[in-house]
Amino acid sequence: MRRGTVFVLSVLALVAFGLAAWGEGERVLRITFAWPTYIDPAIGSDFSSSSAFVNLYDTLVYPDVNGDPQPHVAVKWEVSEDGTVWTFYLRDDVYFHDGTPLTAEDVKFSMDRITTIGQGYGFLFVDRVVKTEVVDDYTVRFYLKEPFGPFLTTLYRLYIVNKDLVEANIKRPGPYGEWGDYGTEFLLTHDAGSGPYMVKEFRTEEELVMVKNPDYWLPIPEEAPDVVRFIGTTEPATIRTMMARRELEISDQWQPQEAWKALDAIEGVEITSFFPGTSFYLMLHTRKPPTDDIHFRRAMAWAFDYETVIRDIFPGSIQSRGPVAQSLPGHDPTVFQFHRDLDKAREELQKSKYYDQLDQIEVEYHWIAEVPDEEKVALLFMANMAEIGINVKVVKVPWMSVVEEMAQMETSPNIVSIFVAPHYPEAGSILESRYHSSSAPTWEQNEWLLDETFDKMLEDALATVDREERFRKYAELQHYIVDLCPSIFLFDQVEKHAYQAAYIDWPAARGEVIPVMGYNMAARFIKVYPEKREALLKGG
């Protein structure tokens, strides 16, 4: 019994010692994320993976707060007149975490690897980049299949991996022929980057621990975190408790409404909101009666109560102005915006060829079962349409079934409500994925627009290298789409995070938001003040 007591006391003493020993001056930044987090740049493309990449790897160009590409590993670049050959001149003072210099060979290897594997952000380069050439140690050249103006913007997703390190860790045989597994097993838990942070520990479905790279080629402020922990949980009660105990600095974005209120009530914690460029659409089938009639579609757009959605169902979001989110580079703020006006709705409905058959017509509206709040939008829509005599049948459908039914024109319903995010931060991305004929059989387009004029205009815009000119063409396209009213442009989604405003300085929370997913989680720009945290803990 006495021995047992001694043991218990020893354990308690050690725990107490551990507690006391922790946190003295160490700058730690803890962020919660929804798992999975992939740290292999050829595999991941979700929020947490993208947030890890910006900390572990470098890119040729880096976005500024306007989404404009700025020199990073590439000091300058040039493009051929026809827009198909892009040459980048690299810095010669960038080193990987193992001390190997970053050269053009590594850039070529990274591009070849991501296009061969085809996963993650590979879709941005597959079928677009036909060849990558090493001109010399610090010059690399990409040959594109056809001119592509936003190519620089897509390079935010080409994370440069250390060729020598990956090659040394390739497992053969593997699915990629002579390249074996292309290092995918190794890069599942290790990094091969040159970024401001390095992987210290990776525990699947639990935690990614990164430490500051002391030899980073760019200056990192002293107040930047020494350790960054990505914690794999989104459970509201856990997040709230960790925040209150100052064991978490930034929360994930997946908290329910009531959780935001509770988090906001914690002293020193604030909620910040960004607009990541994702929009919520009611996609109207333009080839299926009665939504094939433009007046019918416009009548619905006039009758819908946008205000209630952004005020009560998705608070914090803003009403969309056209097909492109207002925060997305290339958005045109002059685009027409519908609002609720029942007189105009009735006026349009009278022009519709279905006006005399309204009692015999039913509009089928599918919402995604996995997003419960969508049901509220669907029911509101049904009630709004009943006011002008349109019958709506609301159907709850699992996501995978929605994807399958949207693959064919015949099985696509009249209306589907879906969030769509841009593939790369430019208006052209959303215009292409939402309305180009090539995307019609995918879940990103229920409209089945199949409009040759639009396709040609868009292809021309995407082939325009000059950014200003390209954006002017995007503006025309946005007006063109709004005139056709193939969708109800409901709202731009808000991304919220709770953060410890009392002891961290986060540029994104101050309004310096980079409109590219993951880049606002670059820890080198976030400052942590442990002494303020201690004071808060003592005071609280």
């Binding site: 085809g118 597959v126 105990r245």
Partner: protein, 342 residues
């Protein structure tokens, strides 16, 4: 000899049960709507990349061929690749199962010790205030899901009082012991890492107690009912009449036979902890097998689903056999019956 024969019969029977289970789960997981490879690679992955992975996982083959590949792999200890963790499912199991086993063992001990103790006390003092208190708490324990306890404990002992950690298996500042069994407490003991042991136990208190309370209440109710029934039986009156000491009557003649139904339920409760710990693991960010299993189902991670169900099947079958053995030890009628080959 009878026991060995009984055991051999049960083992042979178990093989058929597991084989049937594997066919069932294999079919069910594959008829669910949605393409698992497309889900894993995302909607924007090029079709050739999706096809490549499909071929790699033999998903382009007919179902019987897929099952053949899966079964022959499983018999060699290769349960295939997980579509989401992107590594061998067997590696996932090696990592996640010990975490949940550790939690379940801890919860199981709490469940057994306190369930039987409270049940025995309530049974011995049936219809007194002690009995009433135990019964009320047992009812509450039985009807309350473990995740409710988990949230309550988290908010009370983690958030308001701050006595216990709220997430994970170890504090970040504690040196992790090397992985030997995968159970942090055991590995800490083996390596003499007392700080890690204390910290791991400290982390385990809230999730383990939350997980144990339902089963504990169930065990207490069953033990209490059996003890209060057996108390009225003639052999107890005889023992008392012969002047056998109260303590001996309680422990030897009353408690031992009264534990038979409790042990049967305890075994099943313990096995089901492995599968039912999902929400508790989620709330305490415990990187366990149960959470892995549910995530596998949500993500339609075919190989992971099959592996999780098979592991749970093996655990249930094993626990059932163990329970039969313990019950045979507790009840001479069963033991002797088996020995006579009945």
């Amino acid at each position: 000899m009878g026991i060995l024969k009984f055991l051999a019969k049960r083992l042979v029977f178990s093989v058929f049960v597991l084989l049937g289970l594997s066919i069932l789960i294999f079919l069910i997981s594959r008829v669910l709507p949605g393409d698992p490879v497309r889900m894993a690679l995302g909607p924007r992955a090029p079709e050739w990349a999706v096809q490549q992975l499909r071929e790699q996982m033999h998903l382009d083959k007919p179902l019987p061929v897929q099952y053949y590949y899966w079964l022959s792999g499983a018999l060699r200890g290769d349960l295939g690749q997980s579509l989401f963790t992107r590594r061998a499912v067997i590696d996932d199991i090696k990592e996640f199962l010990p975490a949940t086993m550790e939690l379940a063992l801890f919860a199981g001990v709490i469940m057994a010790v306190f369930g039987i103790l409270f049940g025995a006390i309530a049974g011995r003092y049936s219809n007194t205030w002690i009995d009433n208190v135990v019964r009320i708490f047992s009812y509450i324990g039985v009807v309350t899901p473990s995740f409710v306890f988990a949230i309550l404990f988290l908010l009370l002992f983690g958030y308001l009082l701050g006595w216990f950690p709220t997430a994970g298996r170890l504090s970040p500042w504690i040196q992790r012991p090397p992985v030997i069994t995968g159970m942090v407490t055991v590995d800490s003991l083996i390596t003499g890492n007392w700080a890690a042991l204390g910290d791991a136990l400290w982390h385990m208190v809230l999730p383990a107690v939350a997980l144990a309370l339902g089963g504990m209440a169930q065990e207490a109710r069953i033990t209490r009912a059996t003890i209060s029934d057996n108390l009225k039986k003639d052999y107890i009156a005889s023992a008392k009449g012969f002047g056998v000491p109260e303590r001996l009557v309680m422990l030897k003649y009353l408690l031992k036979p009264s534990l038979i139904p409790t042990v049967s339920i305890l075994g099943l409760d313990f096995a089901s902890l492995l599968g039912n710990a999902f929400l508790v693991e989620l709330i305490f960010n415990w990187p366990g097998f149960s959470r892995y299993g549910i995530n596998a189902m949500l993500r339609k991670d075919l190989n992971a689903i099959a592996a999780v169900v098979m592991v749970l099947g093996v655990v249930f079958v094993t626990v059932n056999i163990l329970v039969d053995l313990v019950v045979a030890w507790l009840d001479p009628r069963i033991r002797l019956g088996a020995e006579r080959g009945k």
